[in-house]
Amino acid sequence: MEKYRFLQHTADAKFQAFGDTLEEAFINAALAVCSLMWDIDKIEIRVTQDVIVKAKDMKQLLVNCLEEILYLFDAKGFLLASVKDLNIEQAEGNYRLSACFQGDYFLEKYKVYGGIKAITYNEMKIEKNNHFLVQVVVDV
């Protein structure tokens, strides 16, 4: 299955990410976000960041999870290359996601070719048909 696909949008970047599970769709959404900024395949896996985010609903959980990529990059210079052990729990209207982000710090040898300002709710979709689909517009 295709991991993610970019769609037409006037100003910004809009993509759909797919997965057999919701977790897989979230991971592929994270990779789609990274693909706008750096070449995931060229980043060595030398550093890990444990991520835990909480939210009141699934869309907010997706926004918070993807925003973590922007935060770790701006604040810590961390380039995400792969996501392991992504887990989503849901209890009484509280959503929690944990994951292990793997990648490396921004070194001279890496190229970052684009920036993202924010993850938005614009046209956001989280759907389950034959497989899971998430759609996100990011402000670039």
Binding site: A11, L70, K111, K117, A118
Partner: protein, 473 residues
């Protein structure tokens, strides 16, 4: 959607359904076609439904689809029941433009453009993830957020005259750095004094047309050929995080059930959270003012080194085009204080307004409208009429018409550089991909945007400038 033509460049979506006011669109028939293709008009309608909105939901000539509010959207809310919304300001709080004039003319500088650009490139970090080597401490960052460009000037970056010629005099006094999350500060700390990426740029320009000599002279612009420096950037990760944080806090506090679009989340202006967002936004505004103040200083230093002097490099003005402010406007014949949101719109105050510096009070404020990469940019003057038509606002740039993805598919950064060079424009960038994404064909025609602004009376044409050197993040 019902769209009524009021006159040549003015359209209206009449009040209907849950709209509290009509939506008014200032645009030509030609540009309207591109606006109709995306969500702009629907978003303008949604804004018209928000509590406390006054007169109309306004759309500027360069508008395109945004999040919640359209880009190029202006809306004012009364202070009793009105709201304040992070989506009405945008993620890049105080994204704005500064222009510095020089006493150099094109002929003197032609052979030096390349070295000027190269030196500026060394002094002003640009591109993604490029911070300054010397990091500030958190306490200094808080001071920056509290005092804005004033902090920068106190620390040797520029002069008091720069502050005089900056919107809000370079500092929004309601700023409270305590209202910014630590996360936002962490994102902002490495980025002070950096240009960033995306559509942000720094240009060496020459004046190519003077439409209004008297006003141009008041702005410090003498004649054709004069060299100006234009800096376009914002509050970087700090501002983006403030927006994201407060969207989340407002969602948690007020819920999202009754919103036509989740990104329209807002808080009553009078509520504690509404006030906190405003103070945090002001702090992010100040961060951006300080940022542009520092960059301007580096540019002057480079001129001194390369050209031998930076004498006469005075600021023309610095405008913010993503901001919410409390201003007094006439509503139903009465002067009232309202909270004006400008998202991708520039304040365009006419003569007499006390918010504009004394030196410009007889001609109206300078309104800086940058074009897209390699095209012309403009300086307009604010008008009295704009206060009646749009709460004193006009366009902020060219406005995109093509997605970045499509631009990447169609254009190559290397080719764009060669094309610009053949027109005598030097280009320096950190990323070919970034150059391709910002191809001028992906934008509306800025000439058309300012023509509409001029004809409608939102801002009057003063000078046109064309680039000689472009530095892109």
């Amino acid at each position: 959607m019902e769209l009524k033509k009021i006159n040549e460049n003015t359209w209206e979506i009449p009040k209907q359904g849950s709209m509290r006011v009509p939506a008014r669109i200032y645009i030509s028939s030609k540009l309207l076609e591109s606006v109709k293709r995306d969500m702009t008009l629907q978003q303008a309608k949604n804004v018209a439904c928000l509590k406390g909105i006054q007169r109309a939901s306004y759309v500027m000539p360069d508008a395109h689809q945004g999040y919640g509010f359209p880009i190029g959207g202006v809306a004012a809310f009364n202070l009793d029941e009105g709201i304040i919304s992070p989506g009405g300001v945008g993620y890049d709080i105080n994204c704005g433009v500064r222009v510095i004039k020089t006493d150099f003319f094109a002929e003197e500088i032609k052979s030096k453009v390349k070295s000027l650009l190269e030196e500026i490139f060394k002094e002003v970090p640009a591109g993604v993830g490029k911070g300054r080597a010397a990091h500030l401490s958190y306490s200094v960052l808080e001071e920056v957020c509290a005092k804005g460009a004033e902090w920068a000037v106190e620390n040797g970056y520029g002069t008091k005259d720069d502050l005089e010629k900056t919107e809000e005099y370079g500092r929004m006094r309601d700023a409270d750095p305590g209202c910014i999350t630590h996360r936002a500060k962490e994102r902002g700390l490495p980025q002070i004094g950096t240009l960033g990426a995306g559509n942000h740029f720094l240009e060496l320009q020459k004046v190519s047309e003077v439409y209004d000599e008297r006003t141009a002279k008041a702005f410090g612009i003498k004649k054709k050929g004069q060299i100006l420096v234009m800096i376009h950037c914002g509050s970087r990760g700090l501002g983006h995080q403030v927006a994201s944080d407060y969207i989340r806090m407002m969602e948690d506090k007020f819920g999202i059930e009754n919103l036509p679009d989740r990104e329209l989340i807002n808080a009553p202006i009078r509520s504690e959270l509404g006030q906190k967002y405003y103070k945090a936004m002001c702090a992010a505004v100040n961060f951006a003012f300080a940022n542009r103040q520092m960059i301007a200083h580096y540019v002057r230093e480079v001129f001194k080194k390369v050209m031998g002097t930076n004498e006469g490099m005075e600021q023309v003005y610095d405008v913010c085009h993503n901001v919410a402010k409390f201003e007094t406007h006439e509503i139903n014949g009465q002067k009232r204080k309202v909270c004006v949101h400008r998202k991708g719109a520039t304040r365009s105050f006419g003569p007499g307004r006390e918010e504009i510096p004394e030196v410009y009070r007889s001609v109206g404020q300078p309104v800086i409208i940058p074009g897209s990469m390699g095209t012309a940019s403009y300086i307009l003057a604010g008008t009295d009429k704009a206060e009646e038509l749009s709460f004193g606002s006009t366009a902020h740039g060219a406005g995109r018409i093509m997605s970045r993805h499509e631009a990447l598919r169609r254009f190559r950064g290397e080719q764009i550089k060669r094309d610009l060079e053949s027109q005598g424009i030097e280009l320096k960038s950190t990323s070919w991909k970034g150059v391709a994404e910002e191809a001028s064909q992906a934008y509306k025609n800025v000439d058309e945007v300012v023509r509409i602004s001029h004809e409608v009376g939102l801002g009057k044409l003063v000078v046109k400038v064309v680039p000689l050197g472009v530095m892109k993040g």
